[in-house]
């Protein structure tokens, strides 16, 4: 087992373990903290995949913004302290569990059977300065997605403001 594989296994365990803890946590606040653990694991995976830029962006946006936002929202709901949590799940949770585990079983089975039968490009990425590359691509080839994404952000910003505004 190489060092890379070791890191991968550790990060995956951290990620999947915190994801499981997240969906089973009783208190919403603790669940959100576990979610942060999952995000951190995903960031490590990105860095392992030579996408360091995305890894940092993952930390910046998911942990620094989305997770804080969610923590903040939890603090604005009843039972902030999580002292008397009600039931965690709706009545349909067994069904959901069966569905999710079936789906997981099917996908994993398929992937295992497919083995390494992918058209794998046997090369490491030949660019090193991803920030510059991505920036240029956003201004040329991928201008439309970039503009659409910024439009979505703007609309979401205004929409969120309108929704929470006091009458």
């Amino acid at each position: 087992m190489t060092l890379e594989q070791g890191i991968f296994i550790l990060a995956s365990l951290l990620m999947l373990g915190s994801a499981l803890a997240m969906v089973t946590a009783r208190s919403m606040f603790v669940a959100a903290l576990w979610m942060i653990g999952t995000f951190a694991g995903v960031a490590v995976l990105f860095i392992l995949l030579n996408a360091g830029f995305l890894g940092i962006v993952q930390i910046l946006i998911y942990i620094g913004a989305i997770a804080v936002l969610i923590l903040f929202a939890i603090m604005l709901t009843p039972d902030v302290m999580g002292l008397k949590p009600g039931p965690r799940y709706t009545g349909q949770w067994p069904l959901a569990a069966v569905m999710a585990s079936t789906l997981a079983a099917v996908i994993v089975l398929l992937l295992v059977r497919a083995g390494n039968d992918w058209h794998i490009a046997d090369a490491a990425p030949n660019v090193t300065d991803f920030a510059v590359q991505l920036g240029e691509a956003f201004m040329t080839t991928y201008l439309l997605p970039f503009e659409v994404a910024s439009g979505v952000l703007l609309v979401a910003l205004i929409g969120a403001l309108v929704i929470v505004r006091d009458e």
């Binding site: 936002l69 996908i107 058209h119 952000l153």
Partner: protein
């Protein structure tokens, strides 16, 4: 060549997706559902970046796609939390089972 097979990433991402799916389908709190959805989006991102790294490494489409997904996730979180906040103010609950105004 990386020493980790592509399969490993895909399997891990699939598991993460299914955990997120379970969270989104079963949680009582609306915020819990939102968190489940965020996990699913993350799983998708892992897949996108993994395929970019192993199959289509010359372009940047995979990373691009992941960045757009992250953007959309951020927008979604903002709007969803605004909705939760508004719901809590008008209905005094964030439990999805009690938000049944349209269920007659």
């Amino acid at each position: 060549m990386s020493s980790i097979p592509l399969n490993w990433y895909l399997i891990v991402a699939a598991l993460l997706f299914c955990i997120g799916l379970f969270g989104a389908l079963s949680r009582r709190s609306a915020i819990g559902i939102l968190m489940g959805i965020e996990l699913m989006l993350n799983a998708v991102n892992i897949n996108l970046v993994a395929f970019w790294r192993y199959v289509e490494v010359d372009g940047l489409a995979g990373q691009m796609f992941a960045i757009v997904v992250i953007t959309v996730a951020a927008a979604e979180a903002a709007v969803a939390l605004a909705l939760v906040r508004a719901l809590y103010r008008s209905r005094d609950t964030v439990t999805v089972e009690e938000i049944d105004l349209l269920k007659w």
